[in-house]
Amino acid sequence: MNNDTIIQLSVWQVLFGYVFVVFILWILNRRGIKREKTLILATLRMTVQLVVMGLLLTAIFDNPSPFVTFGVVLLMVGFSVLTVFRKFKDDLTPSLKKVIMLSLPTGGLIALFYFVFIVVQIEPYYNPQYLIPMTGMIIGNSMTGLTLGIHTLLNKFTDQKDEVIESLVLGATPKEASHDIINQAFDSAIMPTLNNMLGMGIIFLPGMMTGQILSGVVPTTAIMYQIGVMLGILGGVSLSTYIFLIFGYKTFFNQDSQLIDG
């Protein structure tokens, strides 16, 4: 980072940013929209969480250690799995949960490690300044993509139940009977990432690149990182969703190739 070129923000300067919150509070109050509590809670949580994270990252960056860095990486992966579980609550069967516990860490970490160790070639291998933010981006996006894939898979197995049963009746294996559903689920998982890539650089400047440019990194370097990280995200989303789907569809069938009523 090039601290010379950054305009350092003081606490007072940041406080000026909260003017927007006051303004929205005024609108909510005036129009009788009952969202004041959520707005205040969201603002407080964002502030506290980021301050804590900032202090934590500073401590981790000042004392780099492989145990701490990979501990944080694993913690982030664990939280991403829990977030997926929470989102679907009772819709996930225990066997589908196991598949998620396998696919998200495997797909996300393969993409992450490929990106940091083979593409960027970070040194030392546990450099937290690279590993932690990259984990956030790759695992976070993998989780979002996977969530869409799970959502589609669950919905389609309900909506297209008759079609799946007919295929089984006609002698299809569960894999053949689920073929279209698996494709639709994969497509829905990667579409947002693809749309993101289509608009990137024209409609919006991605957050990481903007951050790097603000920190004084020359745009060409920032772009190289952005391209790399986007490909890493695409890899993470695709891999974790693919692993999830090739094992996940099986949980909808029993050993007699019958669709399990859910």
Binding site: D162, E163, E166, L168, V169, L170, G171, D256, Q258
Partner: protein
């Protein structure tokens, strides 16, 4: 060919002992809700019994691989699902599950047999109820099954077409020396085409009658 012994499925079916013979046309009659469809689904393992044993060709049904069994024991449900694609796609899909290569000519011949006049490229989702049922019939007759189990294959057809379609199915089965187990709502149809009549009421076999 099939032997069912003390088979129970939920509160729907309770069969002490039933034999379904090979090479015969077996008709099943009974009130709606009597358990006829459940019986057929048990035969190709779309469902499994809670208790009892089903034997197919001297081997317990539970020891068969379900997918392989369904390629031999072909089931046509009362309201078969028609894929929202063309007629050709519907036929090809079923054939692909059985690893069969079918030509356009074979498919056209099959459509003719079931009295469907639409072309192969016709959108199958636009077919009427009766036409869809005949397409489903053509779809299963393309497959090389040994036993055909059909749940009222003519329920959506008028009397005239019904007679035509059933006689065509029966011809197909006899010509290829296959077995047919068919649910029908009409005893007259059963008596005209069947070799054996099984009557089911309240989930139990009430009678087995030879019609030969």
């Amino acid at each position: 060919m099939f032997r069912l012994k003390e088979v129970k499925y939920k509160d729907i079916l309770n069969i002490d002992d039933l034999t379904i013979k090979q090479g015969k046309i077996t008709c099943i009659v009974g009130e709606s809700g009597a358990g006829k469809s459940t019986l057929l689904k048990l035969l190709n393992k779309m469902i499994s019994p809670d208790e009892g044993e089903i034997v197919y060709k001297d081997k317990k049904l539970k020891d068969y691989d379900a997918v392989a069994l369904r390629k031999s024991v072909i089931y046509l449900s009362q309201k078969p699902y028609i894929y929202k694609k063309t007629i050709k796609d519907n036929l090809m899909k079923a054939a692909s599950f059985h690893r069969l290569n079918v030509t356009d000519e074979t498919m056209e011949k099959m459509l003719k047999q079931v009295k469907l006049t639409q072309s192969l490229g016709h959108d199958a989702s636009k077919l009427s109820g009766g036409e869809a049922q005949r397409l489903a019939l053509a779809r299963v007759m393309l497959l090389k099954g040994e036993v055909y189990i059909m749940d009222e294959p003519s329920s959506a057809l008028d009397d005239e077409t019904e007679d035509l379609v059933i006689s065509m199915v029966v011809d197909f089965v006899k010509k290829n020396q296959l077995s047919l187990v068919m649910i029908t709502h009409s005893k007259a149809v059963a008596k005209k085409y069947g070799d054996i009549l099984i009557e089911i009421a309240k989930g139990e076999v009430k009678g087995v009658e030879s019609l030969e």
